[in-house]
């Protein structure tokens, strides 16, 4: 990839719009090219500046009343217009939004969540690609945990499930969602599971949300102020049972 392409694609990369292959290419380029990295950082900084400081003009309540008043009048004259369809759609969407909030995902906007999922997946794929699966290779949780202690500003729960067939293989530092995170690595019949953990702003525990992206199974949930994202190419049954084990362990540790 040359700089000209990179400077365009950097926007798609920041907006979470590139496919995995292009994302990895641009990451590689940014790692190697200091000039493009500077541009990338500045575009990112600008984006967070806009989101933090640009005015969002919410509709004045008078407008709400005005539009509401105008619509039924129009409906009365228009006779056969299906006014209820419009309002039913509105009600359905409101309900849908409320359900979404009920799952404890108020903090993550859909776009943000999709981008995070992409980052998690990219982190997983990269860990397998670049021969950098682990920083500390140990099946002993009492080795892994102290190793992490000096490197992150939080202490993630380190669990081993060898007895159930999901052996802890080690740990690694990774960078997701603009922060350093812990990646715990598990193995099951030669398949690798990455379990990413980082502190989440205090928020209600959420149930598991699962997804399949590019053939990988993904699941995430929040528990006791930590966000957990698991990703693997393991079959769905075993993957789900792994996620279940993690959740059971966390529940019993409380």
């Amino acid at each position: 990839m040359n700089c000209r392409d990179a400077l365009d694609l950097v926007h798609g990369y920041i907006d979470g719009e590139l496919d995995l292959v292009k994302s990895l290419e641009i990451e590689q380029h940014l790692g190697a090219c200091a000039a493009c990295k500077v541009q990338y950082d500045q575009v990112r900084e600008l984006g967070s500046g806009i989101r933090a400081h640009a005015l969002y003009h919410a509709a004045p309540s008078a407008l709400r009343a005005r539009v509401a008043a105008a619509l039924p009048r129009e409906a009365g004259n228009g006779a056969r217009k299906p006014a209820w369809a419009w309002w039913r759609m509105a009600a359905a969407m409101a309900l849908f939004t409320l359900l979404g909030l009920g799952f404890g995902l108020a903090l993550l906007r859909p776009g943000a969540e999709a981008r995070l999922a992409d980052e998690v997946l990219a982190g997983h794929v990269r860990s397998l690609m670049a021969d950098h699966l682990m920083d500390v290779a140990s099946s002993d949780q009492h080795t892994v945990k102290p190793w992490i202690a000096g490197k992150l500003d939080f202490s993630p729960p380190v669990m081993d499930f060898s007895a159930q067939g999901y052996a802890l293989a080690g740990g690694r530092l990774d960078y997701l969602g603009e922060r350093g995170v812990m990646a715990l690595v598990y193995r099951r019949h030669g398949h690798v599971i990455n379990l990413f953990v980082w502190p989440q702003a205090p928020e209600a525990d959420s149930s598991v949300r699962s997804d399949t992206r590019q053939g990988y199974n993904m699941a995430h949930f929040t528990r006791a102020g930590m966000a957990f994202w698991a990703v693997s190419d393991l079959n769905p049954e075993e993957f789900n049972s792994f996620v279940g084990l993690v959740r059971e362990q966390l529940a019993s540790a409380r």
Partner: protein, 178 residues
Amino acid sequence: MPHLDAAYNLARWLTRNEHDAEDVVQEAYLRAFRFFDGFRGGEARAWLLAIVRNTCYSWLEKNRPAEVSAGFDEETPPGDGAGFDPDMMAAQGANPEAIALQNAHRRILNQAIAALPLGFREVLILRELEDLSYKEIARVVDVPVGTVMSRLARARKLLRQSAPLRAMSGLPAAEVKQ
């Protein structure tokens, strides 16, 4: 009232005036209501924002035709946009000591966005404030997805080149690559 905040926010940024934005939004909702039969499913918000956006354009063409084409040329290198005058904003952004730095930055940033040519302003607002995907933006603005990315790139370049913003943040100007 579904998506009224998003509709008003877009109209407010495109018309740059509260009263005009209210008129446009009301008209857009009446149009949406009238053409609801034309709604073929998919993202309702993008569908509605497309109507708001088109209503804004009709309104601007009628009342302020100069703004519709001002400074918007996808081909010219960034910085050559007529009607986009960073110096004008520099004058307004003077005397930052008098106000809290944060407020000054906020005000200057908002002025710089408001000064962007219409075609760049709309993609930036839809992306950064409404968090729409490129596909949704393509639908609202009625251009191919690839054009959305290049317009966003241009919009961000123009913003970064705006003099007062640079002065505030200490950022160097975006490098112009040919």
